[in-house]
Amino acid sequence: MIISTGINELDKMIDGGLRTSYCYAIKGTAGAGKTVLSLFITHGALQKDIPVLFISTEVESDKIVEYGKSFGMDLQSFIKSGQLSVEKMTLKPQGVNLVQTERFDLSGIIARTKAKLQKINAKLVIFDSITAFFAEFQYEKTARSNFMDFIREITNEDTVLIFTAESQVAEEYATLEEFLVDGVIKIRTELKNNQLIKKISVPKLRSAQPTHFENRFIIDKKGVTIFRSEHPPISLIEEEKTGIGRLDELLGGGIPTGSVILIEVDGETNYFPLFLTSMYHHLSENKGVIIHSNVHMYSSKIVEEFKRSKSDITSHLNEGNVVFIDKYNRSVTAVEAREMSQLMTTDDMISVTVELMEAFAQAKQKVVLFGDLTDDANILSESDFLRYFALQSFNIKERRAIAYSFINFNAISREILARLRTTADIIIRFSRVEYNHYIECLKSSTGATFLPKIVKFNDTVPLIEIIG
């Protein structure tokens, strides 16, 4: 049985919902919102008629009910209808003195919890929190190791067990509880620009891929809202597709028009499959494609490569949908070339590109620009190069076009790369580790970044596929 957390995005993060006979830990620093989150999960289950047993080890049960009220939950009515039971369980009840030895087990709390959950037929048990619970034990280690019995006995009843645990701010290593549980939901608060920002992640999840990235979330009266970085709300922005299905998906549906996409490749990686697939897709949408030719990207090579992959772009070439701007004309002599390079300044490149963009716009065609920046970065002076990239990017954004700029990140300085990154809207890194190619997104105007994913190559279009 899968129980929804009542928080749509959290369900997605934990592979659809909470599974019965599984144990989950909500870990978080003090004040991150562990109790509130567990209360919202409780409320979510109750609204779907799933009975819940809430065990509080810190505060009295009426305080929990009151706490829920401050978030607009009427827990009292669920207690009355017998769907909810809120219990305080602690080693040291009020007014009691303790002497402790280390020879004990936790069968007391196990028997009590089992009796309570059977009474209301609970499918969800919340234990808030184990940190406070263990703090009362003089022999904490014994208590912790005996807590395994608690987890086993409770999840055996075909219920979901969620416990909350306080984590230290600088906790690098997984604690004992993280090994025992089937899923870990981690929340933390960080101070950014004088604002407290809450973040949620799922570093461990049995049965499914854990999501390693963190999502921002807010808690207010309306509930817990998670802003999932994989699917940002960009419905208002006009979207374009890259032509690589999975990449569009990972970028949250596509790329907004007016985007400058910086594709960082190492010198040994062949980016042509990525480039050609994308170019082919844009051509099939009847867009105008401008290519800034250079030693890597030139007309005959591109046509050859398309032929090799059995894709015909002749009609597009004939219709003039593909235009090459040749900065380094290879048919001229050395002297002429020197003169030409003086003639064809970066400003000329920009003005020719802009003229072409206007021509395409008159024919009501959208424009996509492809270019390899590596040579420009090496030939031009630093300031000229950055000015060139900035001007190009500005015109792309201004005219709602798309630019794919490839760069060999090993061939340029870190400072230059950092500046290019600032200008770019989307940064995709395409690199090779031994015999595997990986693609990752480091920056995205939509907020949808992703970690390296393995890339597979095909003989025909699409020449590239992302796995996972």
């Binding site: 080693l91 009691v96 303790l98 002497v99 020879r103 007391g108």
Partner: protein, 88 residues
């Protein structure tokens, strides 16, 4: 005045029979002390009433609790300290 010592035990508890034997022995020696043995697997309500978490738990008449198994000397010491000293 009759004083009652409560002893909470469970079938899964390995130290309980040993502690139970000691308690019975000590309490036999003292006239005004009685022992109530509660198996929480049969009497969950009692465990709930006294908010029992760990087993074994011994509740002494003055609400002092001993959590965990202990030897005779330890239990005698606790009884002496918390019950008999208070009486005299």
């Amino acid at each position: 005045m009759e004083l009652k010592v409560m002893f909470f035990t469970s079938p899964t508890c390995g130290w309980c029979p040993f502690v139970e034997g000691i308690l019975k022995k000590i309490i036999d020696e003292v006239s005004h002390l009685t022992l109530e043995i509660i198996d929480i697997s049969k009497e969950v309500d009692k465990a709930e009433e006294y908010e029992i978490v760990a087993i074994p738990t011994i509740i002494l008449p003055n609400n002092q609790r001993i959590i965990g198994g202990a030897d005779e000397a330890f239990i005698r010491e606790q009884l002496n300290f918390f019950v008999f000293m208070g009486q005299s």
